[in-house]
Structures are given as structure tokens and as C-alpha cells.
Symmetry: C2
Subunit: 210 residues, 2 copies
DNA sequence: CCTGCGCAGTAACAATGGTTACAGAAGGAT
DNA sequence: ATCCTTCTGTAACCATTGTTACTGCGCAGG
């Protein structure tokens, strides 16, 4: 844990802070597809991502869901706190998009560390900035774009975070993330294939020229 | 300015911080409909709202817009900072929904004060929490609700912040805020009137039983 | 008083996306 | 091989929302 932390965060956190994190943090290694944060764990921690990609989803009371954004290494998710403080009528889910390593930090340390460590303060502020901006992009795409544009954006972003132009998702998976339906996604993907932008296969697809 | 500040913020900020704010802040009194934040002003300040209501809108490159949320007294908008730091392909607009009083604080003080004053730190963190939650609600409504539900939510929220069941908006105004079209809004409002939930008039409408 | 403009009502139509239903292909398990 | 499940393709249809076009009303300014 210590070497992982130092590698990823050594240049931004003071050594004493690194030490404190090692004291109270829990190291977790999670496989792809792992549902990271249970409602129970929720209030207890703030994740510091060491490697891999975590996707953060919004879920409403009917089980409808929508991809908010991906967390990559070096990211944290201040939102996990923001949400549980607010009303709990709808929820956030976090799922490992790839195998991932992370450290959970108990939320009680937040206030202490923001007082004590400038680097932590900046880190948390930056995290908020980034999450806000990502939320705004997501909102833009839902509010202003049509499904075909959203789909293209989704495929590009997914290829970017996984560093792979082969996307291992079924049409149904994509439909869930975009809060659409399987038939609609199949229809649009077919069009993209006809335009030569992608190549479809069973259980995965290839980006060619997006 | 000092008495306004003390009334609204005296119980949460230390006296020394209040003093500092008085030194560097600019007091502004703006009328309803005033476009608060120009792109030029943008980077320079963070608003502390003393009284009144400010609405915050998202705008994309084509001029489409969408109401994000309202700021009320005691609120600030950490997002104004978050946005200008990010890519500027789309923008935030802020318009006075009612007459409002506020203090603009230069953004350069942010870092200094977050180090120096615990109350300021907490204030800014709380603001982030609130904005994140409001953004999530907005996203929920855009992603998961149909236009009729969104319209009802909009009318209720607007009545709440203005403390008035008479809403002085044209159908076109409402359409802009919800990123819809005038005809669609007229249609839905008519239905609400037929259901006895509202009463329509020229240039304004009355909430009866929403 | 008349005129013009902004606002609201309405109809007809288009486009987008969601739903249902069914068929067939791929691949794994036995 | 056979069976079964999952995934994909496709058609037909529906609901919601957006668009265009035209009407008439009310109010302000000349």
C-alpha cells in the first residue's frame, strides 16, 4: 500500500499525510465488474484511486440509471460524500470498469486533514472542481444532444479510459449506461457500422473511425 | 455593506473574516432581470448572496439553455470558479430572478482564506456539496422525468424561491428555462389548467393546487 | 381611435426514441 | 449433437416532444 500511495500521490501529498493515510486507510484490490460501494460502506469512506477505472452511476427510485463519469487513477470522488449528506431518495453506484486498486479513507479524517494539510485541501477542492465539470458535461449531453451523438461520445470516452478501441459491452450494457433501450442502441450502432465508423461483433465492438 | 454582511453571515464567519471581506469585496445591488455575471467579470469573483434570488443557467454553443438552480440568500456559487477553470466551450449565465444584494469577492482571496479561516473552508465545502446535489437533481429531472413532471417541478420551485404563487413568466420564458419550446409548454400548461392545478393569465399564471 | 407587437391557443405534421414481438445466430453445457 | 441461454437484427407500432403555421387577443404608443 505504501509504495502504491507514494507512486501515485507522493508528489502531491506531504510525507506526514501519506503516513496518516497509511495508518487509517484500507487498501482494496477489486476486479472488473465489482460493485464497489455498498450503501452501507457509503458514509464511511472516500476512495483514492491508485489504478484502474471506476464508473459512477446515478440511479433513481425506479432503478433507472445513467452513467455520470469515470474515475481514473489519481482521482477521488468527493461526490460520494456530497450525496449521502443530501436526501437519499436517489443513489450513486460505483462499479469497477477495469480491475482497480484503491484506498478507502474514513470520512471522519476529512475535516481534520483539510485543516492540517494544505495539499489535502487542494486535492479535495480540485476533486470538486473536476466532478462539477464532469457533471456539467454529462448534463450537457443529456439535455442538448440526441441519442446518436451521445452514443458516439460514450464510445469515445469508454475507449479513452480503457485505452482500448475494442469495447467489450453488449448493446444492453450500453443502453443501461445511457438510460436508453437495447433496441434503440442496436439501431444506432447498426447505422454507425453502415457509416464505417465501427465494426460490430457478438459481445464486443471495434471503433474504426469515430 | 458591513451590516448586511453581519446580518447574513455574522453567525458563521469570524469577525476578522468579515473584516477582510469588507476590505476587498464589492457590494452590488442588482434589479430583477439583471444579467449578473459577464464573461469578463467571471474569473474575478465569487458572489456572496445577501438577499434576493439569482438563477444559474447553463448555455451551450448553439445558445440553447437550461436552468440549473437558484441561489438564495446565504448561498454562494462555487461553480462560477469551477467552470471558468474548465474548458470554455459552454458557459454559465447568472440572472437576477428578483432584486438582489450581493458581495463579489475576488477569487484570489480564496486560497488565502481557505488556509486562514476554518469558517470559510466549511462555507466553501458546504457550497460545493449543495451545488453538487442541486446539479444531481437537475440531472435527474432532465434524464428521468417527462416534460409534464419537469414543468410541475419547475413551477413549484419557482414559487418556492420567489415566495409567490403568482408566476410572472411567459410561456416562452418557461420554455427557455426547461430547454423546450413555447408550443409544448403552452400545451402542457393548458392541460394543467384543465386539471384545475393552475390558472392561466396573460404574462403570468397562478398556482392553485400543485 | 387605430396600429402594431408580443403573447397565447390550436391544428397538423415530423422526428425521435421507446416498446413489443419475433427470428435467428453464437456459444456454452451436457 | 442437442439443448439452452444470451445476444443481435428487424419490423411495426406508439408516445412524447418539437416544428411550422396561422389565428385572435390585449395592451401600449402614436
Amino acid at each position: 500500500m505504501i509504495q502504491n500511495l507514494t507512486e501515485e500521490y507522493g508528489n502531491i501529498f506531504e510525507p506526514e499525510l501519506i503516513n496518516e493515510i497509511v495508518q487509517v486507510g484500507t487498501f482494496k484490490e477489486v476486479p472488473e465488474g465489482y460493485k464497489l460501494i455498498e450503501i452501507g460502506d457509503y458514509l464511511r469512506g472516500m476512495p483514492l484511486l491508485i489504478s484502474g477505472v471506476i464508473k459512477i452511476l446515478r440511479e433513481d427510485e425506479d432503478g433507472d440509471e445513467l452513467l455520470l463519469y469515470y474515475l481514473e487513477k489519481g482521482d477521488t470522488c468527493s461526490m460520494t460524500m456530497a450525496c449521502c449528506i443530501g436526501d437519499a431518495k436517489s443513489e450513486i453506484r460505483a462499479i469497477a470498469e477495469t480491475d482497480a486498486k484503491l484506498i478507502m479513507v474514513p470520512i471522519q479524517k476529512m475535516e481534520e486533514w483539510t485543516t492540517k494539510y494544505k495539499s489535502w485541501r487542494n486535492f479535495v477542492f480540485n476533486s470538486y472542481h473536476e466532478r462539477l465539470n464532469e457533471l456539467l458535461s454529462t448534463l450537457d449531453s443529456v439535455a442538448f444532444q440526441k441519442m446518436d451523438e451521445r452514443l458516439i461520445g460514450y464510445l469515445k470516452e469508454k475507449a479513452r479510459v480503457t485505452k482500448n478501441d475494442i469495447i467489450h459491452s453488449t448493446h444492453q450494457d450500453i443502453a443501461y449506461d445511457l438510460h436508453s433501450s437495447r433496441v434503440v442502441i442496436s439501431r444506432l450502432l447498426k447505422k454507425l457500422e453502415e457509416m464505417g465508423k465501427i465494426k460490430l461483433h457478438r459481445n464486443y465492438l471495434e471503433l474504426l473511425d469515430l
